[in-house]
């Protein structure tokens, strides 16, 4: 039995790294009386897996993790038990019990929906000005770090959809990012490319990952947590 858990990683904890978040979740699980499955061996621990690591500094609204269980409990029970012990900036949004044959989350991930908020200032307006041109172009080359090193990469193909909204106080960029063979695109790299286009060195913004996506057997984009259990 496994529990597919959707949680929010809020603004105050957006600077916590992936391993630290993992340890925090393990400790939170230990504080509950939930029937968690421990690994065997010399140093028993809870083998958590996350759908996709979140870049440091990005707020996660619907992050997804997979928790091994030793007995069946309902998603609602799990959610309640966790929210009793988690700080208010880390909340379980929903939980769903799945069978052991459910695919690993990592294998399911196809992309994500992100939102970038910029408070209105001269730099933010420059970014807003160049965004439509960026969406119209087919190519936008910038320096991108991957496991195999730093490369000049055309990042435009990562953006499946993009929109811009400018209100009186902020500019909001929304994108659907699709993963490609060599991985995903970090919001920071997108912003760096937009800054280069805008001819500015940097801009202040807050990035949110709104949802981690997968494709259902019919090929439609859905939240990774909604993937059907066989």
């Amino acid at each position: 039995m496994r529990m597919i858990v959707v949680f929010e990683k809020g603004l105050p904890v957006r600077h916590i790294g992936h391993l630290d978040l993992m340890r925090t979740m393990q400790r939170a699980l230990r504080r509950t009386d939930l029937p968690i499955r421990y690994s065997n061996g010399f140093n028993p621990h809870i083998r958590l897996s996350f759908a996709a690591p979140l870049s440091v500094g990005v707020v996660g609204l619907r992050e997804v993790m997979d928790v091994p269980m030793s007995a069946e409990v309902t998603g609602a029970y799990f959610q309640q038990a966790m929210n009793r012990v988690l700080p208010s900036c880390l909340r379980v949004v929903s939980a769903r019990s799945v069978s052991d044959t459910f695919p690993t989350l990592m294998a399911l991930v196809a992309g994500s929906r992100i939102r970038i908020q910029l408070s209105i200032c001269a730099e933010a307006m420059r970014v807003a000005e160049v965004f439509p041109a960026f969406m119209e172009a087919t190519e936008c080359v910038t320096l991108r770090k991957t496991k195999s090193g730093e490369n000049m990469t055309n990042i435009r193909p990562f953006i499946a959809e993009g929109s811009l909204e400018v209100t009186g106080t902020e500019a909001i960029i929304r994108c659907v990012i699709q993963n490609r063979q060599d991985g995903s695109l970090k919001p920071a790299v997108l912003m760096q490319a937009l800054c280069e286009l805008a001819g500015i060195t940097s801009v202040d913004y807050i990035a949110y990952r709104e949802q981690i996506m997968t494709r259902n057997p019919q090929g439609a984009l859905i939240g990774v947590e909604e993937y059907p259990d066989a």
């Binding site: 904890v13 600077h15 790294g17 630290d20 230990r30 504080r31 140093n43 028993p44 621990h45 807050i206």
Partner: protein
């Protein structure tokens, strides 16, 4: 301000140091408390959050229905610079309240080299750095902890010091100041009232005068509210005194990222260099039942996977095997491991070792402190070479291959023969390892010998001693290093002696060092505990600018009749006892462990405090 902070966080190293929101820190809103307390730790977040005292006092204050306690740490240089540039005042981790908006600011004094950070934090928090410049609207700045036992170098910056065990005095201080706030008692009167609490020292109510030669001539209260002698506060019963049921659990990895159970306070051994051993007398144990209940609470509220037993000498805890046994039984199912941090080499620990090993194996540390028996007798370290070697043998047979040996260099009466003894012990450790048959010992022998530089500390028998000159320390370090080159399998680490020089000055300094501290801070000193930021030349400049010399403080042997800057504090052990111990040290005479009989240290004056005390020896 929030937006500016968020912007800074995107730019600095380890931003999670500044964001709080950890488990068990969702305390009450600051706006709803009658009185607010900023617990200031004058070092970085990682150091602060490893400190048990912070967690104890944080929980005690937050358990008061009328008070709230939030944490404030020293920002790292990148954040400091950003905050200055953006005009962001130092703020609390919980609610990001600027420091100057708190009613009380409390510093914990763990280390002399963090003193400049106190000045920096006050300044960055918008609080007048000098106590004399604070007005009615400014917070009251208090301080406690081991370095408060000689508060004088900080006297110009702190309104009131708390001396002794903090659990009760902190409540008295907060509650008194809360009453004063309600009725609008003026600042000067609040300080006078504070001076009436046992253990509280208000430096502005005292005056010091000096002889021609720079030594203290007179130290007296100038206000009837101030006692001539400040009596420290004691916790009498460790089973009933407050201990947190829940503690903050940091997200990022800190130095001691685990549950620390304080199994006892104090130590019966009487090592003559050890300030903690003298300050925290007498030994007071917690019962196994109390500890089990505390562990149970903390495991439940934190989810930590490790418990460490904390005290000055955990191996001396009277029920250690039973405690380990019961902790392990209780928490096996929760997969919580138990570790003993400060193993004493002369404690009967073989059983416990075998048990800790079942859970987790870490590197073992031993503290022989000196290389020869004569030297160990001088410092009253009741450990023999045979003890040490038999413990090492146990460790190597038990599967350990990495051991650390701690020494001190520059001890009173030390000769080159004593220094050579350090290397001989290192060599003996290597031999002990090879004496275990090859199949039975773990691979990868590592014997690491480290020598710190002796620093004379107030309220120890060595408080009268001079520290070796810098040249002499360097010569000695070279000498020992030379000896180690011939030993394979053992390495030797040493410390920068210039830091120890400043430690000696500020440990044993008088009021005039406040000026030096202020000057050094003005010249840019901060984060001096971090070697990359320590600048000896700037410190020497500050001394010169103030017309003072480090030699006077660090390199001078004091006379029996000299009035010492901390003599007005009754810390428990008497000056008479300390002098007697000093004389015995000079003759290499040892003094027995208190468990074998009372030595009349002065604690016996406090009826019912010391379980080994012999009241007739008064």
């Amino acid at each position: 301000m929030t937006e500016q902070i968020e912007r800074l966080l995107m730019r600095v190293e380890k931003p999670a140091r500044y964001t709080g929101s950890e488990m068990n820190t969702d305390v009450k809103p600051i706006s709803q408390a009658e009185i607010s307390f900023a617990f200031c730790f004058p070092d970085t977040y990682e150091v602060a959050m490893s400190h048990l005292g912070l967690k104890i006092l944080y929980s005690i204050i937050n358990n008061l229905p009328y008070a709230v306690c939030e944490r404030v740490c020293m920002p790292w240089v990148d954040m400091l610079e950003g905050m200055k540039a953006e005009n962001v005042p130092l703020f609390s981790l919980e609610s990001r309240t600027p420091l100057h908006q708190f009613d009380i600011i409390g510093f914990t004094l763990q280390y002399e080299m963090s003193f400049t950070n106190i000045l920096e934090m006050l300044w960055l928090g918008g609080v007048p750095v000098k106590a004399a410049e604070r007005g009615e609207q400014d917070p009251i700045v208090v301080a406690g902890g081991p370095c408060a036992s000689n508060p004088e170098p900080l006297h110009a910056f702190i309104d009131a010091f708390m001396i002794g065990d903090g659990e009760d005095v902190i409540v008295e201080v907060v509650s008194l100041l809360n009453e004063c706030k309600k009725t609008g008692v003026p600042r000067a009167e609040r300080l006078r009232l504070l001076a009436g609490i046992q253990g509280v020292y208000v430096p502005s109510l005292y005056t010091a005068a000096y002889h021609e030669d720079g030594t203290l001539r007179q130290f007296l209260p100038i206000d009837p509210a101030a006692p001539e002698t400040v009596q420290k506060q004691y916790v009498y019963d460790m089973n009933t005194t407050a201990f947190p049921e829940s503690i903050p659990v940091p997200y990022t990895q800190i130095v001691h990222d685990r549950i620390m159970l304080e199994i006892m306070r104090g130590c019966t051994r009487g090592c003559r260099f050890c300030q903690a051993g003298m300050l925290y007398r007498p030994v007071r144990e917690r019962s196994v039942d109390t500890l089990l209940a505390q562990a149970e609470n903390l495991v439940g509220s934190t989810g930590y996977e490790e418990i460490s037993l904390s005290s000055l000498s955990s191996g001396d805890y009277s029920c250690l095997p039973a405690l380990c046994q019961r902790l392990m039984e209780r928490f096996a199912e929760k997969r919580v491991s138990i570790s003993l941090p400060s193993l004493r080499i002369d404690s009967v620990l073989k059983d416990s070792l075998a048990q800790t090993q079942r859970v987790r194996k870490s590197s073992l540390t031993f503290a022989p402190e000196a290389g020869t028996q004569r030297m160990r007798d001088v410092i009253n370290k009741g450990v023999t070479q045979e003890d040490l070697l038999s413990k090492l043998k146990d460790a190597f047979e038990g599967g350990w291959s990495s051991v650390k040996l701690y020494f001190m260099l520059g001890l009173p009466t030390e000769t080159d023969a004593d220094l050579a003894g350090i290397a001989s012990l290192g060599e003996a450790a290597v031999k002990a390892y090879y004496a275990v048959p090859k199949g039975q010992r773990a691979k990868g022998l590592r014997v690491t010998c480290s020598a710190s530089v002796f620093v004379p500390k107030p309220f120890t028998p060595f408080q009268w001693c001079a520290q070796d000159s810098q040249e002499e320390v360097i010569r000695k370090q070279r000498f020992v290093r030379q000896q180690f080159t011939a030993i394979r399998g053992a390495s030797f680490n040493w410390h920068d002696p210039s830091v120890s020089l400043m430690e000696a000055c500020f440990a044993t300094g008088d009021r005039r060092l406040s000026d030096v501290l202020y000057r050094a801070w003005q010249l840019g000193c901060k984060l001096d505990g971090w070697s990359e930021h320590f600048k000896l030349d700037v410190w020497l400049q500050a001394f010169t600018d103030c017309g003072l010399s480090p030699d006077f403080y660090a390199h001078r042997t004091r006379q029996e009749d000299e009035l010492l800057p901390w003599d007005f504090i009754d810390i428990g052990v008497t000056k008479r006892f300390l002098w007697r111990e000093y004389q015995r040290a000079l003759n290499a005479q040892t003094t027995r462990d208190c468990r074998l009989g009372c030595n009349g240290c002065g604690i016996e004056r406090m009826k019912g405090l010391c379980s080994y005390a012999d009241d007739r020896s008064v």
